[in-house]
Symmetry: C2
Subunit: 261 residues, 2 copies
């Protein structure tokens, strides 16, 4: 099956996007809610969590891994590609590919957690495609807790989004990468504050398209995947708040199994 | 020495209060920054982290333990008192003792993390002392991330504090327990929004006084404590942001040792 993990609930936006595109494949999801959030922690610690998460997904029969977390994708991809011999997708590359195609003026904005922005990975990948690009990055550490509180439409959230986006607006970016899997839940307020002319790049949609394309071209791997449309959800900690946000994201009633890894 | 732990940086307000009262004793502090925050996690998970933290402090030579975290104090005290045979202080009891002494009308407000408020421990302890008390509790989950971002004086923080405190203001509480070790850093804005007639109970100060009193009366334990005024700080993850907030709290330059537990 397709194994997907995130630090918590954010990666469910990726699950939703994959279910919308290719609902036939079995999915096993792991949300590392006992260690959430990753975005405020050090690279070393996030690498350790990432390796444990992948080992758990392999034990559940995953044949393809999706790192549905920008922080883990930013700081741990190189190490896990060396350590594990199966296809591993991260959320950075498909978002960058789509962003460089979308941008007319090559004037990019990136928002993400502190760990993602500090890693500089979006800048490096964009510059590898478009050496003349201008890139402006802003860490937005309060957006994850605001999403996890379900404060999606509150005035305070809109004000905080506006404050974070102000330097990007001043620099007249034309393309904004939502560099955290929580941010698609704030898409409306982000679009309103950055302005409707700016194209938003939603990494959850980009990665779903990337996986679809991969499976169409890699039939040997595609044939190893079970296709009964089953979704299994595991977390390392269960709280009522988590269930609420998970339901909001997947728009359906869901049950979780709690595992200690 | 005195062993103190918290989920992260908040417990340093307790360290500061203890250093102000009884600076002569050696202190070993552990901030479980690899698992922070505790307040949004389940009781079971927090109990597991608490046991590991105490074991680490014992390995460092602690003879007295201070749970400088309201969430861990709320959900894990009973279990750890059964499991460990040494004096263990938590932050709830001294705050309640001081609150019931301070209140004229027995109309209490409590603010804390979601886990602390769900536990109902403050209500139970206050009612045990004052069965006729009225108690109003509000979970304020966004205050920890706001403090950890250092947004102590921002307008958005003031608005969010106001929103959380509104139901307590309406009920005309006369005493407000700051049920989270992060909140003393927001004392000014909390006092401004709840009104100057409301007495704020700062658990970090209450616990420092409680420990001082205990050591004056338990000379056999007091004599086991080294008195060279040394402060050793350990964390399970180090980030620049953590260093910044730690410095802000202790008002001095500090160095940490990172340990995996």
């Amino acid at each position: 099956m397709i194994g997907i993990f995130d630090s918590g609930v954010g990666g469910l936006t990726v699950v939703k996007a994959i279910l919308d595109k290719i609902p036939e494949y079995d999915i096993v999801y792991f949300g590392d809610t006992a260690h959430t959030p990753y975005g405020t922690k050090s690279a070393e610690t996030v690498v350790g969590y990432t390796i444990n998460n992948i080992k758990f997904l392999l034990s559940q029969g995953a044949k393809v891994i999706v790192i549905a977390c920008n922080t883990a994708s930013s700081v741990a991809t190189t190490q896990v590609l060396e350590q594990f011999a199966l296809p591993i997708f991260e959320v950075i590359t498909p978002a960058v590919t789509q962003a460089v195609e979308a941008s007319a003026n090559l004037n990019f904005g990136i928002i993400g957690t502190r760990a993602t922005i500090s890693s500089g990975i979006y800048e490096r990948k964009i510059l590898a495609h478009r050496p003349t690009a201008r890139i402006h990055s802003v860490a937005c550490p309060l957006l994850v807790p605001l999403v996890e509180e379900g404060w999606l439409k509150k005035r305070e959230t809109a004000m905080i989004v506006k404050k974070y986006l102000q330097p990007l607006k001043t620099r007249q970016i034309d393309t904004l990468i939502l560099g955290c899997t929580h941010y698609p839940l704030l898409k409306n307020v982000i679009q309103a504050k950055i302005g409707k002319r700016v194209e938003l790049i939603d990494s959850s949609i980009c990665i779903a398209e990337g996986i679809q394309h991969f499976l169409e071209n890699q039939r040997d791997i595609e044939q190893q995947l079970r296709q009964t449309g089953r979704l299994s959800l595991f977390v390392s900690d269960v709280t009522d708040q988590f269930k609420k946000i998970a339901q909001l994201t997947l728009k359906t009633n869901i049950s979780f199994e709690c595992v200690k890894i």
